[in-house]
């Protein structure tokens, strides 16, 4: 696939502008559900742009993270709702990818309570950081994380079924997908999108797995 040329890009811009007026896009928000299956092993893809992407800036970030690792591990052990968590630098972003159980806000609040000081140490290296210390601004931090967590599209099913159930014309749905992605690029910060996630077994909580394997919870 080749990169679109100037003419094609202008055409796309004009078309999306027309479509936006006709069918204004809305980025879907996560809907609360009391169904346990909807609340177990939920991915979080937190993408945090680096304040200083230079080798010097990255080195300082890595040093700060190294100093916080033990605290983060102890804190995650304490929450007992996080299956996996990885800190990874991708491009000019520090990313935290994790799978957690339960409510997003409760997860982040527990995180603040248990390892808030670790985030206080890391966030100065992040662009457009939330107010610090996070312990004093928990709601701001929860919202800050929410806006930097990737939008989760259960691709391809929900991505191809955008729009009202009684209006599933394939052309319209394709337009809506284009507009949704366009809208995601317009937000500040731009909204990343998770397309697909896989697990090889039914959803269980961290504690259920540890309990079943008799390794303590």
């Amino acid at each position: 696939m080749t990169t679109p040329g100037l003419g094609e890009r202008l055409l796309i811009r004009a078309l999306t502008a027309i479509w936006r007026r006709r069918d204004p896009p809305q980025i879907p928000v996560r809907v609360f559900s009391t169904n346990p299956s909807d609340n177990i092993q939920i991915p979080m893809n937190l993408v945090m742009p680096l304040a200083d992407g230079s080798p010097f800036g990255r080195a300082k970030l890595i040093q700060a993270l190294a100093g916080a690792v033990q605290e983060v591990i102890a804190g995650l052990d304490n929450t007992q709702i996080v299956h996996f968590a990885r800190f990874t630098i991708v491009g000019d972003n520090l990313c935290m990818f994790s799978f957690y159980d339960g409510d997003f806000a409760n997860y982040i609040r527990d995180f603040i309570y248990n390892v808030g000081s670790a985030f206080d140490a890391l966030l100065p290296f992040i662009n457009d950081a939330p107010p610090l210390p996070v312990e004093q601004y928990p709601d701001d931090f929860i919202e800050w994380v929410r806006t930097r967590d990737a939008l989760q599209l259960d691709y391809p099913a929900s991505a191809l079924a955008l729009g009202p159930a009684d209006d599933r014309d394939i052309v319209k749905m394709s337009r809506r997908l284009v507009l949704l992605i366009d809208e995601c690029q317009r937000t500040d910060p731009p909204t990343n999108v998770q397309l697909f996630a896989y697990r090889s077994y039914p959803g269980y909580t961290v504690a259920q797995i540890r309990h079943a394997l008799e390794i303590g919870w």
Binding site: T79, Y113, D139, T205
Partner: protein, 543 residues
């Protein structure tokens, strides 16, 4: 232990602070009648004037009840309090930038948060009464309590509504009445009984008054004032009440402070106030009683079967009647005695075991809350496995106390002050289809709705995230159960548990309102923000 009738967590010398806090937050009134009048602002200026008059008790209005100490024999005949929704604050004229300083869950309102707390299906907002399912429709809720006589309540309500009709301050959306059981039965012993037959209002966060515990003896640590009141966490404390008794329920973590800023002047509107999830919960008493009868028979039959084939079935002397089933579901017997203090053990403990039938002997009132779930020293008292009080029982979900939970640091972080009064007459088994609606009118108060009320309802009540042994099940009493999936496990010592299944949701939500319960200072501000924000004339909350 002290039994003096003081709002706890503050010292007697803090008169100015007590006078700034609405009276129903730190203490229960224990009055017989209540009416909640839900209103909309019709004329903002008149509404603000009405609030000002009620705060001061002028212009013929009843006076707002504060937390000031009631000396012996001076308990008033009536009390008046108010909570305001986000839409109500806007309707009263609170500027959008000031309103934006309130937490999101409050701004969104109860209908928007319904799914999170399990208000789904027949409990969804579209089924709530009198338009309560529309957050924009509800602005304020005035609450009138009457100590002894409904006439006194009616008199205050009439005075308020007449004044509002005349000034066009508010229009009434609905009136919701409640009354304690003794008003129907004439028996004072029924004062704290609610539908389903349980004794209620036993467990509340326990604060400290002048260095002494206020309330019942309790194995739990004392709660800090910051678990329910905003803005007190920086209090330096006193020798009698140390500073840590003011912190939030998450030590070191603070909550968003609603405030109004104009130029260099900032008024912290949240100080001495709290948030409340008001809920109107309709109870299917007949269905619940039938379930108890059916379950008692099923459990007895199952344990008899096990014994007949030589399988372990727990102590044979135990009578599995409906009262024991009711106790297992709640975690307390219906007379309030906690299972943890009346349990039976393998081998039995003659002094503490109760084998049934019926209810165990009552405990002294001050001892009803003096228990927890773990005991490192006396094995017979340890209830890690839930053989005394089931892990999935209501009280163990709503407040796991010292019990082992998944979120290791979350014990004691989600306390709720509960103020409840039943509505509808007591259930008469001889006349089960009497046509009366009955249930509970409850305030669930906290400094943070999302971190306390919603977290309890979401993680613990309806998902069972706190313990892998009950994950994927709902609270048997208040959970969003469905017959197809409901399940409740009763652990037995030395035997496989018995599992109750196929039960419906026994309590439906028919209305819910997220309210801000402001301080007197904040109410004065709402009544006249210009005066408060004028430099040199500002009214500073008492901190």
């Amino acid at each position: 232990m002290t039994t003096i009738d003081l709002p706890p967590g503050v010292t007697i010398s803090d008169d100015t602070i007590l006078a700034d806090i609405q009276g129903n937050i730190l203490r229960g009134y224990n009055m017989r009648f209540v009416r909640h009048i839900v209103v909309r602002v019709a004329n903002p200026a008149a509404a603000r004037a009405s609030i000002a008059a009620i705060v001061t008790g002028t212009n013929g209005m009843p006076t707002l009840t504060t937390a000031e100490v009631w000396e012996e024999g001076t308990k008033p005949a009536t009390c008046v309090n108010v909570g305001i929704t986000a839409a109500g604050l806007g309707a009263l004229g609170l500027r959008p930038d000031w309103l934006a300083t309130f937490p999101d869950e409050f701004l969104e309102g109860a209908p928007h948060r319904a799914r999170k707390v399990g208000d789904i299906a027949d409990s969804a907002p579209e089924h709530w009464i009198d338009g309560l399912g529309n957050a924009d429709h509800v602005h304020l809720m005035w609450t009138i309590h009457a100590l002894e006589h409904r006439d006194a309540l009616d008199e205050v309500a009439t005075r308020l509504e007449s004044a509002w009709a005349e000034s066009q301050a508010f229009t009434v959306v609905t009136r919701i009445d409640g009354a304690t059981f003794d008003t129907y039965t004439g028996d004072a012993a029924d004062r704290d009984t609610v539908h389903f037959g349980y004794r209620d209002s036993i467990s509340q966060p326990r604060f400290v008054v002048k260095g002494q515990y206020a309330g019942r003896a309790d194995a739990q640590p004392i709660a800090s004032v910051g678990t329910v009141l905003l803005g007190r966490i920086d209090d330096p404390g006193t020798a009698e009440v140390p500073a840590e008794h003011y912190r939030t329920s998450f030590p070191g973590v603070t909550w968003q402070m609603p405030e109004a800023t104009e130029g260099s002047v900032t008024i912290e509107l949240g100080v001495n106030g709290c948030f409340s999830a008001f809920r109107m919960m309709e109870q299917d008493v007949h269905g619940f009683e039938q379930f108890l009868e059916r379950s008692a028979l099923e459990v007895t039959t199952e344990l008899d079967r096990r014994r007949a084939v030589g399988e372990p079935a727990g102590p044979p002397e135990i009578v599995w009647d409906k009262e024991r089933i009711a106790a297992k579901l709640m975690g307390r017997w219906r007379n309030g005695v906690p299972l943890s203090l009346s349990h039976w053990t393998v081998g039995g403990d003659a002094e503490s075991s109760f084998t049934g039938p019926g209810l165990p002997p009552p405990l002294a009132d001050e001892n009803l809350n003096d228990f927890d779930f773990l005991d490192d020293e006396i094995a017979a008292l340890d209830d890690s496995d839930g053989t005394h009080c089931p892990i999935g029982s209501h009280i163990r979900r709503a407040n796991p106390r010292d019990g082992r939970i998944v979120q290791r640091s979350a014990n004691y972080t989600r306390p709720l002050v509960r103020r409840g009064v039943p509505y509808g007459p007591p259930y008469d088994p001889a006349n089960p289809n009497d046509g009366h609606r009955r249930g509970l009118l409850g305030h669930f108060m906290s400094a943070s709705l999302i971190a306390q009320f919603e977290a309890v309802m979401y993680d613990w009540i309806n998902i069972g995230l706190h313990d892998p042994r009950v994950t994927r099940t709902n609270d048997p009493i208040i959970g969003a159960n469905r017959e197809a999936t409901s399940s409740f496990e009763i652990p037995l010592p030395g035997a496989e548990p018995v599992v109750l299944t196929g039960f419906p949701r026994f309590i439906q939500t028919v209305g819910s309102i997220y309210l801000f319960c402001p301080s007197v200072t904040a109410l004065r501000f709402l009544a006249n923000p210009e005066a408060a924000l004028t430099p040199g004339r500002k009214e500073t909350p008492t901190r």
